[in-house]
Amino acid sequence: MSSLNFIGKTSVRDNIRLTDNPKYPVFKNLYVKQKKAVWFPEELNIQQDVLDYKSLNPTEKDLFDSAVGYFASSELLVQNVLGNGFFPVLTDPYVKMSFTAQMFMENIHSDFFEIILNTFDMDRKRVYNITLEDKLLMEKQELIIRAVDRITYGKADPDSLEGKKQILTSILLNNIIQEGLFFYSAFAHFFAMKDVGKMKNVVSGVELVLIDESLHLQNGIEAILTIIEENPEIVDDIKFVENIRDTIIDAVELELNYLKTKFGGTTIFGVSYKELEQYMKYIADRRLEELGFDPQFKISQNPLKFLQKEDVKKLTNFFEVSSTEYTNF
């Protein structure tokens, strides 16, 4: 049993017993954290934002709709990737629990965006089509889809070095690039709204999504680092390693191109393209360093200073804004 690696082929009879001495304690920890973070969209009073929504100007509304449209389909995309992609090759029970906790949370998120869709009476077809019509948004998703489709249904052998590299790549694309870069870009748009006092209850929900996603990001980082620790020969392939780094940097490029189309020569909710550019690079450097790479852009400070409000303890005026400080556990 203990000879099993982090990824590999197992029978359904394997590893159905938990032990108090888990092989990967960090995933037990991550499971507990995710459990504590569970929330439900009904806890937020989203209908309070209806008037706000109607008062958004066309650029603001476009930004909001695009962010919702992007999340609405991406949440379930993440779930698909986990379910069809690398969940089948995980071996350890606590690791599986941690990733299924993530899958459950993605339900909550897509449920949350669904409620937003209904509450503001948004055009469902149009919202879901946003990721098809906007070429750059589509490419952001396609990047992940292409890589994951290459490994599903046994196409990648988790016991071979090549298979391991493919699986690692799709974890990277999903949990680091999608959840840790693309999502973080859209988070900033939402937080900028609250900063100017708009869509506050929706954004309270996004604050909860952020907590969840930062845990998912950790799932991904831990998985990648563990796979490398167990299979150091992966990094013998210098080209592969360089490729991973390039993938992250290309993703930043892609995101910046997208942001340019939205923020180009203007500011929305008081935020400009230049600030977002620095912000994305700052976040990308974090991801690079978390995986053991040197930083690329070397931005010393997060330029979106209003985000420091997310870093400190929070007190809510209960009668005014949905609180996100209660725990279900």
């Binding site: 973070a37 009904e42 806890e43 009073n45 209908q47 309070q48 209806v50 900063d195 006092g197 708009k198 506050k200 309270s204 952020l210 907590i211 930062s214 990001l217 980082i221 990648i224 620790e229 990094v235 390693v241 780094r245 180009g264 020569g265 203007t266 500011t267 008081g270 935020v271 400009s272 393209y273 230049k274 620095q278 360093e289 995986l291 053991g292 790479f293 040197d294 400070q301 997060n302 330029p303 200073k305 209003f306 985000l307 420091q308 409000k309 997310e310 870093d311 400190v312 303890k313 929070k314 007190l315 005026n317 209960f318 009668f319 005014e320 804004v321 609180s323 209660y326 725990t327 279900n328």
Partner: protein, 801 residues
């Protein structure tokens, strides 16, 4: 790339940083600041990133504001600058429309926004007494809150009121003559006290509604339920919060004789109110505005505890309502001593509803006796401790129901002949006798204690405090006769009892000024001293008012009926209530109510958005001592706003003055509330802050609150442990693992191997030059006794020679 500024008239000009920098310098006018260049440079640097290619002048003003706002956590000066910039933005637009305060008042009356009676005052005289320099007392968070929610807007939602005009408008809606108006204006514009939010919104306007709270009672009949639904709808419409007692409504399964059917219990009826409140909330300025009170012996208590759950059948959930338990002593005693709890149907045991204290206990025992001897149709016996723990779990999880103590409220009822006190209100600070025919109303105002410290900061300025409280009694009593009452029941209660609610904010800030740690016995003593002073002063003033204006009606009626109350005549049945002051403490820029500082740096979510709040007292002290810098600021932030474990501050400041809410034991929080409660004739609304580690001690904590004699508790905040990734501070998630860095290390390692080889060759060559080939060959072949550290170089290595 040349950026373009689009001016108000549509013309365009090249963007010039110089112009902008001059404008920022102008904000510093009159401030004594040594490093003004550095400050302006910092703001300009923030701005440079923000300004897009095309920008309007208005947008530019706003971006300057945002740039300054971002720097607020760095130094107090940025807060001042941000307020000045915001004020500039507000005033500039108003100055385009109105030449004077008088212009504004006349416009407001013409537009039917303001009361016509305002024109009867000598407006020119009042205008001469407006002091615009007081704008500087309002900090950025306060000014933003004023701007978004309090300053009057015209029909196009454009602000038409400057902050000082706002204070004067509020005063004009309260004072009966110019002298009273100026007295009130001077007090509130100096932030020495503030009226509650509805008064600040509506005073002097055509929405003549000044009151914060209403407390009504629903009887056990469909007629009463629908009557109260209508009353609630009207009360909620005018931005009042409503407390409602539902204990009389019969339990699920209880017989309805007129229909020969069984009742569906209280939950479906409560749901009606949830729907009403939700409908009225749409577009409102405040969220939830009703709380339902139930006594815990009611058979439907279990479903009641679940009302704020977020999952389950939505028909049994009330997301827009608040809930509270009205807890009798006898039941707390049973919980404490582990005796069983009996649940009853109020239709069968109506005597339990209004009785309290020993009388309730007597009836409760009788009901138990009846139940056990088969004389009751419906009852249930449950484990009281298990019940209480379940209740506490719901409180921690959903924030509801709050815990309030029926007998504590009732034993201090000044008018027991009028009625019992059936419940408290939306914020749990009200304690006024009421009944289905008489809806309690309370109009609130709160002293800002932080503005009542003497000059050398050794004590409270008691004379000033006396003056403030006397002004408040007068102002609040005035309001009762000007107020619009949405229902006959609410008018009746006010006219009979004339209740006032004078409260307090800035207690924690005042303590810091006086050098008293919140977490100390001295703070408890101070709390008691202040509360006693407030009571004595307010009562004396009310007695004096009774001489001029007459005592409250019910007092006189009892006297006439030959059953006089054993206290001297006063104008108001009750006078004091400590409200949470969530919003007005922001305007006043101080700590809320009697709470400690929440944290030394934290963010606050309000209707105006999210704000970062810093303990200004701490920042000031550190700055004065030269200890404030970005490193310290970051450290405080990374410690969740705590300074208790920051080494650098050790011995430099009194750290205990700056403990945050979760660092103060709940017992101490309760002690302070209890000290106030001793003299506050209504109630003290007290939220408790409980650190995650103490969560399993909640039973003891709430038991202690009861034993210490609190009338009310409010929200229970539990420090949330799972947080998102930090945005500003880097966190090392990788630890010592190398990840893809492994490759990098290998490359380096092989490089250094090469280096080593190269170095060896070099040394060998040097050695050959120095010692000759022979020796070197001998060494290399190992024929010479080898050096223990390096066999190859034994004879050559300087340390071995």
């Amino acid at each position: 790339m040349q950026r373009i500024v689009v001016k108000r008239d549509g013309t365009e000009e090249k963007f010039q940083m110089k112009k902008l920098i001059n404008a920022i310098f102008a904000l510093l006018d009159g401030l004594d600041i040594p490093d003004d260049y550095e400050i302006v440079f910092k703001v300009a640097k923030e701005l440079d990133l923000k300004i897009p290619q095309r920008v309007t002048t208005e947008e530019l003003d706003y971006l300057v504001l945002k740039a300054i706002e971002q720097l607020i956590p760095k130094h107090l000066i940025y807060d001042t600058l941000a307020s000045r910039q915001l004020l500039k933005i507000i005033n500039r637009r108003i100055d385009r429309r109105f030449g004077s305060f008088k212009d504004y008042i006349e416009y407001g009356v013409r537009q039917n926004l303001l009361k016509e009676e305002l024109l009867n005052f000598d407006i020119d005289y009042l205008e001469q007494n407006i002091d615009y320099s007081r704008d500087s007392l309002i900090d950025y968070f306060g000014l933003t809150t004023l701007k978004d929610r309090y300053l009057t807007k015209d029909r196009e939602f454009e602000i038409i009121e400057k902050p000082q005009w706002f204070f004067m408008r509020v005063a004009m809606g309260i004072g009966n003559n110019e002298e009273e108006i100026l007295k009130i204006y001077n007090k509130i514009s100096n932030l020495e006290y503030l009226h509650s939010t509805p008064t600040l919104y509506n005073s002097g306007t055509t929405t003549n509604q000044y009151s914060s709270c209403y407390v009504n009672v629903i009887d056990d009949s469909l007629e009463s339920i629908m009557d109260k639904a209508k009353e609630t709808a009207f009360l909620a419409k005018y931005a009042g919060g409503v407390g409602t007692d539902v204990t009389r409504i019969r339990a699920t399964g209880s017989k309805i004789h007129s229909l020969n059917a069984k009742s569906s219990g209280i939950i479906p009826f409560i749901k009606i109110f949830d729907t009403i409140v939700n409908a009225i909330q749409q577009g409102g300025r405040r969220r939830s505005s009703q709380v339902m009170y139930l006594q815990p012996w009611h058979l439907d208590i279990d479903a009641f505890l679940d009302l704020r759950e977020t999952t389950g059948n939505p028909y049994f959930r009330t997301p827009s309502l608040n809930t509270a338990v009205w807890m009798p002593d006898e039941i707390m005693r049973r919980i404490k001593e582990g005796e069983p709890l009996y649940l009853f149907d109020p239709a069968e045991c109506p005597e339990l509803v209004t009785s309290h204290g020993e009388e309730f206990t007597k009836h409760y025992f009788e009901c138990i006796e009846k139940a056990e001897t088969g004389q009751l149709k419906m009852w249930k016996k449950i484990d009281s401790q298990e019940f209480f723990n379940r209740y506490l779990f719901k409180l921690a999880k959903t924030g509801h129901p709050w815990l309030t103590f029926k007998d504590r409220h009732n034993e201090h009822n000044p008018c027991p002949e009028y009625s019992v006190i059936n419940s408290s209100n939306l914020c749990t600070e009200i304690s006024i006798p009421n009944s289905p025919e008489s809806t309690a109303v309370c109009t609130l105002a709160s002293v800002n204690l932080a503005r009542h410290i003497n000059e050398d900061k050794t004590d409270i300025d008691w004379d000033k405090l006396k003056d403030t409280i006397e002004t408040m009694v007068l102002a609040l009593d005035n309001i009762l006769d000007k107020n619009f009452y949405p229902s006959e029941e609410s008018r009746k209660n006010t006219m009979d009892l004339r209740p006032l609610g004078i409260g307090l904010m800035g207690f924690a800030e005042a303590l810091v000024d006086l050098g008293i740690p919140y977490d100390s016995d001295a703070a408890v003593d101070m709390a008691e001293k202040i509360a006693k002073f407030m009571r004595d002063t307010a009562y004396k003033k009310s007695q004096k008012l009774a001489e001029e204006r007459g005592a409250f009606l019910h007092y006189e009626e009892m006297k006439k009926a030959g059953k006089p109350y054993p206290y001297p005549p006063r104008r108001n049945a009750v006078l004091l209530a400590i409200a949470p002051t969530a919003s007005i403490s922001i305007i006043a820029g101080t700590t809320s109510s009697i709470d400690s500082y929440f944290s030394n740096i934290y963010s606050r979510d309000t209707l105006s958005g999210k704000f970062i709040v810093i303990n200004k007292k701490l920042m000031e002290e550190l700055d004065k001592k030269g200890l404030w810098n970005e490193e310290i600021a970051e450290k405080i932030k990374s410690q969740g706003g705590s300074i208790q474990y920051i080494q650098e501050l050790e011995g430099n400041i009194n750290k205990s003055l700056y403990k945050t809410a979760y660092e103060i034991h709940p017992y101490r929080q309760i002690k302070i509330a209890a000290a106030f409660q001793k003299y506050i004739d209504q109630a003290v609304s007290k939220s408790l802050y409980i650190e995650e580690d103490l969560r399993n001690k909640m039973f003891d904590i709430y038991m202690y609150a009861w034993e210490e004699g609190l009338k009310s508790t409010y929200y229970c905040f539990i420090d949330k442990t799972v947080k998102g990734e930090k945005y500003m501070q880097k966190v090392n998630k990788r630890g010592s693992r190398r990840g893809f860095g492994l490759l990098k290390e290998r490359v380096k390692a092989s490089q250094s191997e090469n280096n080593q080889e190269y170095e060896l060759k070099e040394i060998e060559e040097k050695a050959r030059e120095k010692y000759g080939d022979e020796i070197v060959e001998k060494v290399k072949s190992g024929n010479i006794e080898a050096c223990p550290t390096d066999p190859l170089l034994s004879k050559i290595c300087p340390s071995c020679e």
